[in-house]
Structures are given as structure tokens and as C-alpha cells.
């Protein structure tokens, strides 16, 4: 009996050997499939609370991006996510995103929205009172962004500034600085000491003459001046931060002009970032695959001014109730991932519900706008992220 066993074992030895090899090879191939995701993950900065959802069956085709989509490994193409029990621990440690000290927001839930303002004055008292009003409405430990939009770039009497809304009077950056200081004073007095405000001082890319590289640099210098003032003793830097902002809309000006402005800003930014709170008007969306951005803009242009520039970040307008804006910006983000290896990490969402209540138009409520963009970008692991800010603009 013993001999028979040995004989069987001897006769089937090579079978066992190849069997072992086959099993190991199978594991290797299986791991290879998993490694594709590791490869992709190396290019997708994972955010701490980044939500993940499987791609939707209704996910629109991105035929225009097909040629740019990278496939990292030979003969393996992943259209669906796969989960395997063993994952090699080769993912980069994600950069910890500073989180507010407020009670953590449940994943997938919109944050409380702040109110941003189109500015038709640089009156100091008006700003001071506005700051107080805003400060009173802020809850303890809230982290919020507020845009003060001063209108289109302007240059007059040797000074850079804007033509404010309403009167279209010229206001220099010096006048805007003083007005913003008034806002900050009012806010500081009334807001909880644990709250964090990012105050984005906005202009736009509208106009045929004054949207220039020099204006962008002057805007950055204005932001720097305000941040220096905030940091000067007695410091408010733990509660207020000033950023630049531009409402860049393809329908308003050409891409080269707008790129010149953001390059100018970046050249003088000195660490002060800006937020693009513009649109992607006429960009393709699920209902119009053949749409093209206005004035010859390309995805590269939109990505560049919204994320590509070192100091550029984005709080896009998500206005249309049908989800068109969310789809348009999702595609810009996907372009960034496909071509530059990094999706746009939208810092927030801007809606105009209060503005439409004042002037009559149909638009998303703040939670609807946030939900549209959040769901859209999280329908694809390549663009998935949490969106921390939500603001609604009014007059």
C-alpha cells in the first residue's frame, strides 16, 4: 500500500509541479488585474472622505475623450471596478486635507451654504454692516467661502480696478481693499471665533480692453495686501483668509485673453490663490454632445484657468436645473484626469438661487446644485471627491 502511494506520487509528480505553477500563475494574473487599479490609483489623489460609487449605467459617452484616455497595462482594460481580497499596500499616503473643527459632515450630504454678493458699491459702512450680517449668520466652527464680486476689470487714471455692478462706476483696487477691510471688521466682530472664512474677491473676464495680464497681477497684489493686513498684529489669520476670484465665462471673452489674466495673477500671487467661479457655457453635455464652448475655448483652456495654473482653484457655477452645468464641469475634470493625470478637485459649488429670487429666473437651489456636481463627479472614480463648500450668490 505504501509503495503504491509512492508510485502514484512519483508518476504524477510533474502534474503536481505544473499544477502548483498554474495556481501561482493564476494568482499572479489575478493580482495583475488588481494592479491596474493600483496603477490608476497612483494617478488619482485619493481624498480622505472621497465618496465612491460604481459608474452609472447612464453615464454619458465621452467619445471626445476616448483618444486621450490612457490604458496603463497591456491586454487588460477595466471598464468596471473590481474588488479583490488582497490589495498590495503601495498606494501613496494621501495628503491630509485640513478639515474644519465642526462636526464632520456626513458623506454625501451638502454643507450649509453661505451667501455671496454681487457688489454695486465700495461704501465702507455698507461693507462693515454686510460683514456683521454675514458674521451673525455663521454657525460655530463653520468653514465657509464667500465671494464678493466687484464686476468687470477696468483701468482708469493709471489705476487698476473694476466697473462695479449697477452704476458701472470705476473702483480702484485701493478702494476695494478699504471696502473689504470694512467687511472683515464687521465679520470678525460677529462671527464665532471658531469659524473659518475664505473671502474671495472677484472680478470677471468680461470686456474687450481691460482683461489683461497686468490687471491679473494687480488683482493678485490686492489680495496679497489684504492677506498681509489680515496677518498683521493683532492677527486674524486663524479666522479669515483672502483669495482672488474670477467669473470666467467663455461667452464673455476669448481664451487667450483670459489665460493672460490668470497668468498675470499667478505671476504675482505669492501664495494667494484664486477661485474661478465661472461657467462652461456651451460646453458639451449629455443632451448636446455636439455643443462646443463659446468663442473657440477648448477643454484645455477651461482646465488651465480652473486648475492647471498653480494658484487656480474652482467653485463652478451649477445653475441649470437639468444638470447641464454639472455635466459640463464633470467633463472638464475628466479631461484633466485623462490628459494631465489629475482631475479637478472642485473646492465648492456656486448657485444663484437668491439672485433668481430677486430678479426672476429658474435655477438650482444650493443643495440641488451641490448634489448635481457631487453625484456627477462621484459617478466616476477618476473624478470622485468630496466638495467642501457651497455658496449662493445674490445682489
Amino acid at each position: 500500500m505504501h509503495r503504491k502511494t509512492r508510485l502514484d506520487l512519483h508518476n504524477n509528480r510533474r502534474l503536481l509541479e505544473y499544477g502548483s505553477f498554474g495556481i501561482v500563475l493564476g494568482i499572479a494574473l489575478l493580482s495583475l488585474v488588481r494592479c491596474t487599479f493600483v496603477e490608476k490609483a497612483l494617478d488619482i489623489p485619493q481624498q480622505g472622505q472621497a465618496a465612491y460609487q460604481a459608474p452609472s449605467a447612464q453615464q454619458p459617452a465621452i467619445s471626445s475623450l476616448a483618444s486621450a484616455t490612457r490604458v496603463y497595462l497591456p491586454f487588460i482594460k477595466n471598464d468596471k471596478p473590481m474588488f479583490l481580497p488582497w490589495v498590495p499596500n503601495v498606494l501613496p499616503t494621501p495628503t491630509p486635507t485640513p478639515t474644519p473643527t465642526a462636526t464632520p459632515r456626513p458623506a454625501g450630504e451638502p454643507p450649509p451654504y453661505s451667501t455671496s454678493f454681487y457688489m454695486s458699491t465700495t461704501d465702507y459702512d455698507y461693507h462693515y454692516q454686510l460683514g456683521q450680517t454675514v458674521g451673525q449668520s455663521v454657525s460655530s466652527a463653520q468653514d465657509l467661502i464667500i465671494f464678493l464680486d466687484y464686476g468687470q476689470p477696468w483701468y482708469e487714471n493709471g489705476a487698476y480696478g473694476t466697473a462695479i455692478f449697477g452704476s458701472l462706476d470705476f473702483r480702484s483696487t485701493s478702494q476695494i481693499i478699504d471696502a473689504v477691510k470694512g467687511f472683515c471688521r464687521g465679520y470678525y466682530l460677529r462671527a464665532p471665533s471658531t469659524s473659518h472664512l475664505t473671502l474671495a474677491i472677484g472680478t470677471s473676464n468680461y470686456g474687450s480692453t481691460h482683461v489683461t495680464r497686468e490687471h491679473g497681477a494687480a488683482w493678485a497684489q490686492m489680495v496679497k495686501t489684504l492677506n498681509d493686513w489680515i496677518a498683521s498684529p493683532p492677527t486674524w489669520a486663524d479666522r479669515i483668509k483672502i483669495a482672488g476670484a474670477i467669473d470666467a465665462e467663455p461667452g464673455w471673452n476669448g481664451a487667450p485673453v483670459t489665460r493672460a489674466w490668470v497668468d498675470g495673477y499667478d505671476s504675482a500671487a505669492s501664495g494667494s490663490v484664486y477661485y474661478n467661479f465661472g461657467s462652461c457655457d456651451s460646453c458639451p453635455f449629455a443632451g448636446c454632445e455636439t455643443c462646443t464652448p463659446s468663442r473657440g475655448w477648448t477643454y484645455e483652456d477651461l482646465w488651465y484657468i480652473s486648475w492647471g495654473v498653480r494658484s487656480a482653484f474652482t467653485v463652478p457655477e451649477i445653475y441649470l436645473v437639468g444638470g447641464e452645468n454639472a455635466d459640463q464641469w464633470y467633463r472638464v475634470s475628466l479631461y484633466g484626469y485623462s490628459v494631465h493625470g489629475q482631475a479637478i478637485r472642485f473646492a465648492g459649488v456656486m448657485t444663484q438661487y437668491q439672485s433668481c429670487q430677486q430678479r426672476g429666473c429658474t435655477t438650482n437651489t444650493p443643495p440641488q446644485g451641490w448634489r448635481q456636481l457631487y453625484d456627477k463627479v462621484n459617478s466616476n472614480p477618476a473624478t470622485a471627491l468630496d466638495i467642501k463648500w457651497l455658496t449662493d450668490i445674490k445682489w
Partner: protein, 215 residues
């Protein structure tokens, strides 16, 4: 060596060989292919500068959104700066808009409309001041924004009052006759505006009567 031991050795060796194969197939080859792609297809893959830019970008965002702790210095009310002490009050009357072209009782301007381009695509505007310059009326010309569709022409009338911090006291939209696309103000006679559609039609808008008129 006993046959059993020899067999065990074979199994171990084959397994090690399989593992080595796994390492080569799963890690070495993909990394090699990627490095080749990086060097040979700069339009498709990330170059070193772009990888560095992506990493820097995340760091900049983290810094931009971070706030230092409150124990960073003395806090309190800042002293008023020179600019804040000498704030110029708003003028009581509107000043003419730089770059405007006189037309009829008002002037034509190309300025940023107070509407997002996702709602209205404004081409230009005509304005006039009244009430000793304390009230300003704008007539914005353009179209609705209908993405992927024909965009019907409109004019939007807004009235601003200086005393109300330039807030619009009224905003009213008037649709152009059916079939007319985006409009541009080309001239004015008194309070009657001449508008040109993108199809080349000439229309008139009577501001006093608030209606489009036949030529």
C-alpha cells in the same frame, strides 16, 4: 535524497518560479511599459514636470484651505488704516460710463451684464440717466441662452437707483417677436431703440411704451 524530499523541493522551486513570474508580469513589465510610454508618447503620458505639478497642486490646495491655530499671536481689533479713515462717500449722481457712445436720449455700452451667460447671452446695452442722475435705466439686448437650440432674442430693462446702493429696482424681460434671434442695439432716436437681429432683421423697441414696434 529521498524521492519525497526531491518532490517537495521541485514543488517549492516551481512555486518560487511562479512567484517570480508574478513579480515580472504584475510589476516589472507594467512599470517598464509605463516608463517607455512616458518617454515615447509625451502627448499621452505624464512627464516628470506634470507629475511634480500635480503633487504641488495638492499641496497648494491644502495650504490654501488650511487655517493656523488660534495660538499664533495677539488677537483683537486692528487699528484703522489710513485708507479706512479717509473713505470717499459714494457720489449722489451717476457718472457717464467710460467708452459709451451717445445714441438718442442715452448711450450704447458694452459692459458686463448683471446676468450669467448661462441664462442670457447679452450682446450690448443702451442706458440713460434720469431724476437728476440718481436713476439709471439699462436696456440690455441679446438672447436667452438655449444650449444646443436656437436662441430667441430679448431685451431686458433694469432700473437702478443711486439711493439704494445701485441695486436694481426693476428687472423686466421682453421677448422679441417669434423667430428673431439674438439682438444688438445699433442706435436710438429719443427713447426708441434700433436693434439688429443676428439674422439681419431690423427691429425697434419703444422704451416709453415698453414694446417692440413695426418700422
Amino acid at each position: 535524497m529521498k524521492p519525497q524530499n526531491k518532490h517537495t523541493l521541485h514543488v517549492v522551486l516551481w512555486s518560487l518560479l511562479g512567484f517570480a513570474g508574478f513579480i515580472v508580469i504584475a510589476i516589472v513589465i507594467p512599470l517598464w511599459i509605463r516608463s517607455q510610454r512616458t518617454s515615447s508618447q509625451p502627448g499621452q503620458a505624464l512627464d516628470a514636470a506634470e507629475i511634480e505639478r500635480n503633487a504641488t497642486k495638492l499641496a497648494v490646495q491644502a495650504t490654501a484651505e488650511a487655517f493656523p491655530t488660534s495660538e499664533i499671536g495677539i488677537q483683537g481689533i486692528k487699528p484703522l488704516s489710513a485708507g479706512e479713515l479717509t473713505v470717499t462717500p459714494e457720489a449722489t449722481a451717476y457718472a457717464p460710463i467710460q467708452g459709451s457712445v451717445q445714441a438718442g436720449a442715452g448711450a450704447i455700452v458694452e459692459v458686463q451684464p448683471p446676468f450669467p451667460s448661462s441664462v442670457y447671452r447679452i450682446t450690448n446695452a443702451w442706458y440713460y440717466d434720469s431724476e437728476q442722475g440718481t436713476e439709471r435705466t439699462f436696456v440690455w439686448a441679446g438672447s436667452y441662452t438655449r444650449q444646443g437650440e436656437v436662441e430667441p432674442g430679448i431685451v431686458v430693462i433694469q432700473i437702478y437707483k443711486r439711493s439704494e446702493m445701485n441695486q436694481a429696482a426693476e428687472t423686466t424681460v421682453y421677448d422679441a417677436p417669434q423667430g428673431v434671434g439674438a439682438l444688438t442695439v445699433t442706435g436710438a432716436e429719443g427713447m426708441r431703440l434700433t436693434l439688429q437681429s443676428e439674422e439681419g432683421q431690423t427691429l425697434y423697441f419703444d422704451l416709453a411704451g415698453r414694446q417692440f414696434m413695426q418700422p
